[in-house]
């Protein structure tokens, strides 16, 4: 019996180390990367099938790591992180496929490393182990952005790195504080999530510990006032990094709020949720408007991504079953649609060398296949019926109205804003007159098609038949909501 999760984390990392040591030529690196990610995908399908929705934590692996301090290698999957594990496993091979023409070894090494690290961060149940992966996943992105980015790459790389590291370091203090309190209470060291939850701390202590965590997660998502790294990073980063950032890392940020904050401080949820809901709502509107204002197509999608992440966060903060189920579903749905869209933006940029929306146009007549997929992913992002986003957003909005009229109205209207800017963008980029930069626009190629078709199909399946997916995580959420303090109080 192989340890499935550990293999999923370490296979890409070990592959990288092996390739680096043997100084393999780039062709071998590409095939090895694809092969290892396909194995991970296969394992993830097995994991999905064997996942028992009714029981909680599964596929657990638990070993002592630094026993003097009770640091444990503890990983597992439950209803919360299943979707992200699947999203990582599905997206990574597709990213490799679309990037097939990149011949820089460093690019491939770093993508493989980041795959292992994000997987590790997603399934960790020990705070120090989580911190290890959380920090480590930044490093490959740092190198990809700095080495293969565009324009002002060094400035935006440094800004992004310093921003996220500041957040993580403050989180480290919070983690240590919790562990020391646990030690003072019980006399044993432990960093296990289960041991540290619901500690009897004073309100003031909880506030500061909570603040440390929210800094780290808020910056990564990004939550409204912490977003200033986002546009420049997305604009200058190469497409591989952007897809990982928006489709995977940002989702891990939201998931981490769930996993760590809600789990560690269930007693404080009711009092804290409104204070987070406000910036999330502001973010939803602000990023939506920001997206309309942009001419740079990458910045535009950066803002749009920010807007959707705020929506996921809102769903989470609603603290009702609709919101939570919708949120989890949107994590998966948005990972797929934004992944597809950012990959297509990369293709667009590779063909035209132009990111300015005003200088694009007339692609529909030149490259019909490209246009179909581009329109499809754009519509999937805003969640038209029939796509996975629709189901998720519907659930969240239902939850929002259940929460309060105001939140419901704001969320629903903002989705309309998103609709307008996507249509406007489509009109300018895909339709309209052929411009200088789009003159020699060629259609999708085989490797690109192979990468995009599965994403599109999955979006459709998740949109038309959401039941098999939702029932994997729904029981966990209902259970947790029932058992936690929230429902009892109401």
């Amino acid at each position: 019996m192989i340890p499935i999760l550990s293999t999923m984390i370490f296979l890409p990392i070990v592959t990288t180390m092996f390739l680096f040591m043997t100084r393999s030529p780039i062709v071998i690196i590409k095939y090895a990367a694809l092969l290892s990610s396909l194995i991970v995908l296969l394992l993830s399908v097995k994991l999905f099938n064997n996942f028992d929705a009714t029981s909680s934590l599964q596929f657990v692996e638990k070993y002592q790591w630094i026993d003097k301090y009770g640091i444990t290698y503890h990983i597992g999957v439950d209803g919360y992180n299943l979707m992200i594990v699947m999203a990582i496993a599905i997206l990574m091979p597709l990213i490799y496929l679309t990037l097939w023409k990149r011949n820089e070894k460093g690019y491939w090494y770093n993508l493989l490393l980041v795959q292992g690290a994000v997987m590790g961060a997603t399934v960790s149940f020990d705070l120090i182990l989580f911190y290890l992966f959380w920090e480590t996943m930044l490093l490959p992105i740092f190198f990809i952005m700095g080495l293969y980015g565009y324009e002002d790459k060094i400035y935006s790389t440094l800004k992004f790195t310093l921003y996220t590291l500041l957040g993580s370091l403050l989180m480290l203090v919070s983690i240590l504080y919790l562990a020391v309190e646990h030690y003072n209470l019980t006399g044993t060291w432990s960093f296990l999530l289960n041991d540290l939850k619901a500690m009897p701390l004073s309100t003031e202590e909880i506030f500061w510990v909570f603040a440390g965590f929210i800094f780290a997660f808020g910056i990564k998502i990004p939550l409204f006032p912490f977003h200033t790294w986002l546009p420049s990073a997305y604009a200058t980063a190469p497409s591989g990094a952007v897809v990982v950032l928006s489709s995977i890392m940002a989702k891990i940020g939201v998931y981490a709020i769930w996993r760590f904050l809600f789990f560690l401080f269930p007693q404080m949820l009711d009092s804290f949720a409104p204070y987070l809901l406000a910036p999330a709502l502001i973010g939803l509107i602000y990023f939506g408007i920001g997206a309309i204002m942009q001419d740079n197509i990458k910045r535009m999608f950066a803002y749009s991504s920010g807007s959707h992440l705020s929506l996921i966060l809102i769903g989470l903060l609603l603290l009702n079953p609709y919101g939570w189920n919708g949120s989890i579903y949107l994590i998966g749905a948005h990972a797929l649609s934004s992944g597809g869209l950012f990959l297509m933006v990369a293709m667009l940029y590779a063909r035209t060398n132009n990111k300015n929306v005003n200088e694009l146009g007339g692609i529909a007549s030149q490259a019909p296949l490209f246009s179909i997929f581009f329109v499809f992913f754009s519509l999937a992002i805003v969640g038209i019926p029939g796509t996975s986003g629709f189901v998720a957003e519907l659930l969240i909005i239902l939850g929002a109205f259940e929460h309060s009229m105001l939140v419901g109205i704001i969320s629903a209207t903002t989705l309309l804003i998103a609709m307008t800017f996507i249509f406007w963008m489509l009109q300018r980029v895909i339709f309209g007159q052929t411009q200088k930069s789009t003159e020699n626009f060629y259609d999708l190629q085989k490797n690109e098609l192979v990468a995009l078709v599965p994403i599109a199909l999955l979006i459709l399946i998740m949109g038309i038949m959401p039941q098999p997916f939702i029932e994997k995580f729904e029981p966990t959420i209902t259970d947790n909501l029932k058992s936690s303090y929230i429902l009892e109080a109401k």
Binding site: Y69, Y73, G146, L158, T161, L162, L165, Y177, V180
Partner: protein, 498 residues
């Protein structure tokens, strides 16, 4: 274990130093052969220490008293001596190209290295204040001379002059402090001082407190805590790189050896008096050190300034010892081990790539370094990440233990200040990584001849990674788990009463 066997390592090093001094005066051996002899001497001492360590499987037990309790050879001293010897050995291995190419390295250099080694080893074993002072001065004097080896360089001469004047001035406080302590307690034995304090805890302790403060001044001077930092950057910069590597990685550790002995055992009961002072020193050391490190353009000077910041982290742990926590003291030793490997790696790599003294090691010089020397750049990146305390390196665990110890002792704000300076340090360490990787190369590939140096550096890089993520799965390799166990055992050995 008899007196003789526990003294054997320092006997080997001490007589080896004298032997080398005579040998270089009367024979015509080449520098390469002399280096080899030095390495053999150090290896012999190292082997004996390793044998003792494995013999007792690194537990702590009662050790025989040596010279009427003036010296001791407990696990604590053994661990420190092991680090010093390893540091000297690695510095010579890494610096071999530099040492061969630059004419100012002579046979006496190796004698001086061994003398300083002798001083530091004695210092970590000393349990009597005058012995400690003498060993401190033996080590310091040899290092002053080592700093000034390159007589033709103005920078080097300036450095040695500064270091000599300030260092001797700073060192004299120790003697003064010992005198004050003797005046009240009537003894200079470390254990006896502790006994005196615990027996007379109700009485006035003014003289001991004054004495302890004076001793502390010397110690914080030697670890270049602010406001005693003025010499640091110029001395690190003026010394030739192998010497800087040796000095940066070992000398600070030696100072902490005696500081730990004094403050954990002897002043344990009255340590609270110095808490305010230590906290203040910690905060300004971290702040000033960080600022100084940011503004440097030369990497050697940046590393020198950042060594102050590392002293600051260690001071956090020193301030946190003794109050309520038990994890602060071992965290100092772990951090010293982590710092030792990172420093010797980083300075060693610098000395390897800039053996030509005319070449300055600025950020500008390192532009595009990764494109011409990818493996060396990778190693440098690992050293920088370890300095910055990035997870999966040993440097992270070092900071982790220190901050945990600080929070445990109730100094959460010190941990936050430590975290903030770690954040600032990301800027100046990552700046080197950015410069190495993200800029096109302007220089031609360096002609690097040595095969030993890159191997040793790679080994250090692996140790740094293994120390950060190593598990207990491979039991004979002390990973992250094993190092902290060493540290805890050696601290525990301090409290064995004879």
């Amino acid at each position: 274990m008899t007196q003789f066997t526990s003294l054997l390592p320092i006997i080997i090093v001490g007589s080896g130093a004298i032997f080398l001094m005579l040998l270089s005066a009367f024979s015509k051996l080449t520098i390469k052969e002399l280096a080899r002899i030095t390495q053999t001497i150090i290896l012999a001492a190292l082997a004996i220490i390793l044998m003792t360590l494995f013999d007792d499987s690194f537990s702590y037990s009662v050790y025989p008293e040596i010279f009427h309790n003036m010296l001791t050879n407990d696990s604590f001293a053994l661990l420190f001596n092991f680090i010093f010897l390893l540091g000297a050995l690695l510095s010579i291995y890494i610096g071999n190209v530099y040492i061969e190419k630059n004419k100012f390295f002579t046979g006496e250099t190796f004698a001086l290295i061994l003398f300083s080694l002798f001083g530091m080893m004695l210092l970590s074993m000393a349990t009597e204040m005058i012995t400690a002072f003498i060993s401190l001065e033996i080590a310091s004097l040899s290092i002053y001379v080592l700093v000034g080896l390159n007589r033709k360089s103005h920078k080097s001469s300036e450095a040695v002059f500064k270091y000599l004047l300030l260092g001797s001035f700073g060192g004299s406080f120790f003697l003064m402090g010992a005198a004050f302590i003797y005046a009240q307690t009537g003894t200079t034995q470390l254990g006896e001082i502790a006994n005196f304090i615990s027996a007379n805890i109700e009485q006035d302790m003014t003289l001991i407190i004054i004495g302890g403060t004076l001793v502390m001044i010397t110690l914080v001077f030697k670890i270049s805590a602010v406001p005693f930092q003025a010499w640091t950057i110029d001395v690190y910069d003026g010394a030739s790189l192998p010497v800087t590597a040796y000095m940066a990685s070992t000398f600070k550790i030696a100072i902490f050896a005696i500081a730990l002995r004094l403050f954990l055992v002897d002043f344990n009961l009255i340590q609270d008096i110095w808490d305010q002072l230590l906290v203040f020193l910690t905060v300004i050391t971290l702040m000033v050190g960080s600022l100084l490190a940011i503004i440097q353009n030369n990497i050697k000077r940046m590393l020198a300034a950042s060594s102050m910041v590392h002293s600051g982290y260690l001071l956090i742990a020193l301030a946190s010892t003794g109050i309520s926590g038990t994890s602060a003291a071992p965290s100092i030793i772990f951090y010293l081990i982590a710092y030792f490997f990172s420093a010797i790696g980083a300075f060693g790599l610098l000395s390897y790539v800039s053996w030509d003294t005319r070449r300055r090691a600025t950020y500008e010089d390192f532009k595009g370094f990764a494109h011409i020397h990818p493996r060396l750049a990778l190693m440098m990146t690992i050293f920088m990440l370890s300095f910055a305390g990035f997870p999966s390196t040993i440097g992270f665990l070092g900071k982790f233990y220190i901050f945990t110890g600080a929070i445990e002792a109730g100094y959460t704000f010190l941990a936050i200040i430590g975290v903030l300076s770690a954040f600032i340090s990301i800027y100046y360490y990552f700046r080197l990584i950015i410069v190495m990787y993200f800029y096109p190369s302007k220089h031609e590939a360096l002609v690097l001849t040595s095969k030993i140096t890159p191997t040793v550096l790679a080994l250090i890089a692996l140790i740094i990674l293994w120390g950060g993520i190593g598990t207990g799965l491979i039991s004979f390799l002390p990973g992250a788990n094993g190092f902290i166990e060493f540290a805890q055992n050696s601290i525990a050995s301090l409290f064995i009463t004879h």
